[in-house]
């Protein structure tokens, strides 16, 4: 019970605080916060919004999982953005070029994406493990280089084709597509949503029940204790970043094999940073991240509704940004409170048991 409170309280506090902040900003700019909120909520029931929230939520979820794997070990894989886009691009190219039976084709596309993501993250992993380069900076640099690489790959004289006014990769044939669940006029849920859920389960299981997960968390909490306990730090860094990159590679797949079937220069981007925000919001916890992802998707889809009532849609961005910052502050506050409370609880419980007086003091 206490653990649930520790986990849920900070995000709740943060969301309330951020909402208040945005309400203030709206009032200052002359809009009504209540109208805005009303528009955002009613929108969920209309059109394809609900399904869109689920679809986007799943994408954010995968991105956040990728980030969280690194976060467990205090590794900051800011390169999700570059990893997922490059993976999607290469997977689209490969998918468009191959001819394979239906299910296998899709699986190959997914595997290629994971492999490319892992490879791109692997560069940062090797630099960190063997040269001590901060993964924060190296992954950010790799993001930029990925942009250049993608632009190069999509060029007409490399792998791109002209489709109407747009340059794109060769379309993926039917055999490579991932069917979704159609809800009629409410939209189609991506098939990959279920894969995302499975990934979440896998993450939870890995973290809590396997040796790798244990070593991962131990390395994040106390690298020195982990080393003394037999954890190979270098190996952990590499595997953690590779795994993170592989999951990151899957971020672009739902839209690729569920809706777009090709990669263009206007294909979605920005999910990398969303992943970071959602992972922070959910504090690396599989369920917390899921809730955070849904919340984020909800906020994203509100942009249109806000347009309709004349509220600048960018207020959503401020809400998102301030939620991230307030949640980490809130976590710290709650953590301090809980630690002090636990220490008091333990000493009270021990005092209740009659024992010869222990004089244990840090001298």
């Amino acid at each position: 019970m206490k653990r649930i409170r520790t986990v849920l309280l900070p995000p709740a506090l943060a969301i309330v605080f951020a909402a208040l902040l945005c309400a203030v900003a709206l009032v200052i700019s002359g809009d009504s916060p209540l109208t805005a909120l009303g528009a955002m909520i009613t929108q969920v029931g209309e059109g394809t919004t609900a399904v869109d929230i689920i679809n986007s939520g799943a994408i954010y979820y995968v991105a956040a999982l990728a980030v969280a794997i690194g976060f467990q070990m205090k590794l900051f894989n800011i390169g999700i953005e570059g990893q997922f886009r490059l993976a999607a691009c290469v997977a689209a190219i490969v998918g468009g070029a191959l001819v394979l039976p239906p299910v296998i084709h899709t699986i190959v596309i997914i595997l290629v994406a994971a492999a490319v993501g892992a490879l791109w993250a692997g560069i940062a992993a090797l630099l960190k493990a063997y040269r001590g380069v901060s993964e924060v900076i190296s992954t950010i640099m790799l993001n930029f280089i990925a942009t250049g690489l993608i632009a190069f790959l999509i060029r007409r004289d490399t792998f791109g084709l002209l489709q109407g006014n747009n340059i794109s990769t060769a379309p993926i044939p039917e055999s490579g597509r991932f069917p979704g669940i159609s809800l009629g006029s409410s939209g189609t849920i991506f098939g990959m949503v279920f894969v995302a859920a499975l990934l979440g389960v896998g993450y939870w299981y890995m973290l809590g029940r396997t040796r790798f997960g244990f070593e991962l968390r131990a390395s994040g909490e106390s690298p020195t204790a982990a080393t003394a306990g037999g954890v190979d730090a270098r190996r952990m860094v590499i595997i953690a970043l590779l795994l993170s990159g592989a999951v990151a590679g899957l971020v672009g797949i739902p839209e690729l094999v569920g809706r777009d079937f090709a990669y263009t220069l206007t294909s979605p981007q920005g999910y990398g940073f969303t992943g970071i925000a959602v992972a922070l919001l959910g504090r690396n916890h599989p369920v917390g991240i899921a809730l955070g992802a849904l919340l984020w998707a909800f906020l994203d889809k509100s942009a249109l509704a806000l347009d309709n009532v004349g509220v600048p849609r960018e207020i959503v961005l401020i809400m998102q940004g301030s939620v991230v910052l307030s949640v980490v502050v809130a976590y710290e506050i709650v953590r301090r409170y809980e630690l002090a409370a636990e220490q008091r609880r333990v000493s009270a419980q021990l005092r209740a048991v009659p024992v010869p007086e222990q004089q244990e003091v840090r001298s």
């Binding site: 954890v231 244990e360 001298s363």
Partner: protein, 539 residues
């Protein structure tokens, strides 16, 4: 205004922390121009008291008077203004700043930061015997010089009353003598010293008066000229002084650990950290390693555990593990009690059952095995409960976070965990450091019983009584090599302490490190070093 004869007076000082009363109605009167020692066991409350005197903590009750006037210190700046300076046990120096920068940090207003400051620093350095160039980075200084820098720091700020917190714990005996000479010289010029220590022989050598603190309260004063070490010790502990005793020898012929030619280069091409170490530990034997900290003991342990890659060979239970990872070495049967449990032994925010898994995540009962490396949490929890019961770990249960336990209980958990894999070799590095007296006795008992069951133990300790009491044989480590052997049944702490400086090995109980050819002449050593003669220890 008449100057009080007392430089410092503490009356009724009480300080409480969650779960414990650190200081309880303590009284202390220090005459001006006196070296006043404060003695007490680990955890008795000495350091808390000094933190209060220096303004780092505020007392819950009681008064502090300096030169007869009652004062309240809200921060160290107030204490410094009142003329009190503190030389901490763990030096507060910034390695990347120069000696001069460290000295004048925070006191730039006194003499500026240019020529005037340098002049003053030079004067004070002369007083304490610091001879290095003030423009040198602190990181290149040795321990004794760093301590001198700390003393200059307090003098620079005009301290007349100086608190020395366990100053000799890191010094070799020759450096201790130099320190005492400095202190005596300064005392003659009117400085007052508070000397915190639990090394009773030293205290009797330097102090003019002794106050004993036990379990947070002052139990009385003593005159060093008339009181004996034994009496002091009993005042400190309140009863018969506990000491580890191992009676009959359980040493067998079976080699468990064999280390040959262990070498580790120093950072940046300096003196090697390990310069060819050979040793053998048999089943049922406790081999103690004596030495002042910083002479390679930590590196030796890390090299055997595989945390550092060293040249040479390490064989455990007949298996050559010289190239193996730390985990593989643990799996070969090594248990490891690290010298700093918070940094190397425990995951503070994790529950006890998770800490049980640390180091054992690849073996039953914690590991279920298989390709995925599944863990058996239920088994880990059950085994944690066993450890709690068997090793008397005071905790409400196995789900409590490790940080919530007291130091002694944390250490008991670590000891229990490291013995749980049924190891053949136990490396115990300062196993009772920072542990209260009761837990200490418990840990000694556990080690003695494990030894009787055939465990081989490599014991590193700065506590000479612990070493002599527990070990079957002792080796002395100095500057990265083993330089002397000692027989615990006959050697005295003084002889051992002397050998720890690399001085001549004389006396029936000591023998030079014969047979390995380790030349104990060391060009950079203290100079009065003589070659050990094998056979000199023959009785």
């Amino acid at each position: 205004m008449p100057e009080s004869e007392f430089a410092v007076e503490l009356a009724g000082i009480t300080k409480r922390f969650p779960g414990v009363v650190a200081n309880d109605d303590i009284a202390l009167r220090v005459r001006r121009g006196q070296v006043h020692a404060i003695c007490g066991e680990n955890g008795a409350g000495k350091s808390t008291l000094m933190k209060i005197l220096y303004g780092i903590q505020q007392p819950d009750e009681g008064t502090i008077s300096v030169d007869g006037a009652v004062v309240g210190f809200r921060s160290p700046s107030d204490a410094i203004k009142a003329g009190i300076g503190m030389v901490h046990q763990h030096f507060m120096l910034a390695d990347n700043l120069t000696v001069a920068e460290n000295i004048l940090l925070g006191a730039e207003a006194l003499h500026g930061i240019g020529g005037g400051a340098r002049k003053r620093i030079a004067e004070l350095a002369h007083v304490v015997g610091l001879e290095t160039d003030p423009g040198v980075l602190v990181e290149s200084l040795g321990v004794a010089d760093r301590q001198r820098v700390e003393i200059v720091k307090v003098l620079y700020r005009g301290a007349r009353t100086i608190i020395l917190d366990e100053p000799t714990s890191v010094l070799v005996p020759q450096e201790v003598d130099e320190l005492f000479d400095t202190v005596r010289g300064m005392r003659a010029e009117g400085f007052t010293f508070l000397f915190i220590s639990h090394k009773l022989d030293e205290v009797r050598a330097i102090a003019d008066q002794i106050t004993v603190i036990r379990r947070g309260t002052s139990v009385g004063t003593a005159d060093p000229r008339t009181v004996t070490t034994r009496q002091l010790a009993e005042m400190m502990v309140g009863s018969e002084l506990p000491s580890p005793q191992t009676r009959e020898s359980t040493v067998t012929d079976r080699e468990v650990l064999r280390v040959e030619g262990l070498e580790l280069a120093g950072d940046g091409g300096g003196r090697p950290l390990l310069a060819g170490v050979d040793l053998v530990v048999h089943a049922g034997e406790v081999l103690g390693i004596a030495g002042v900290e910083g002479n390679g003991q930590t590196e030796l342990v890390e090299a055997i555990m595989g945390i550092r890659r060293a040249g040479g060979t390490v064989v455990v239970g007949g298996r050559d593990v010289s190239r193996a990872s730390t985990l593989a070495r643990r799996e070969a049967g090594i248990g490891y009690i690290p010298e700093d449990r918070t940094r190397y032994g425990l995951l503070a925010t994790q529950p006890l059952w998770a800490n049980r898994m640390l180091g054992y995540q690849s073996r039953p009962p914690v590991a279920r095995g298989g390709f995925l490396g599944l863990l058996d949490r239920g088994a880990a929890r059950r085994d944690t409960e066993r450890i709690i019961a068997e090793f008397d770990v005071r905790t409400p249960g196995p789900d409590v976070a490790a940080a919530a336990l007291s130091g002694g209980n944390q250490q008991k958990l670590v000891v229990g965990r490291e013995l749980s894999g049924d190891p053949v070799l136990l490396i115990a590095s300062h196993p009772t450091r920072g542990v209260d007296v009761g837990a200490q006795a418990g840990i000694w008992d556990v080690l003695a019983r494990a030894r009787a069951r055939g465990l081989a133990v490599l014991l590193i300790s700065a506590d000479l009584d612990e070493l002599i009491g527990l070990s079957d044989s002792i080796k002395v480590m100095f500057r990265g090599r083993l330089v002397a052997d000692a027989d615990p049944s006959t050697v005295t702490p003084e002889q051992l302490g002397s050998a720890m400086t690399g001085a001549a090995m004389t006396g029936a109980a000591m023998t030079g490190a014969a047979g390995t050819g380790t030349a104990t002449t060391d060009a950079g050593a203290t100079g009065r070093h003589r070659r050990a003669h094998p056979g000199q220890g023959a009785r």
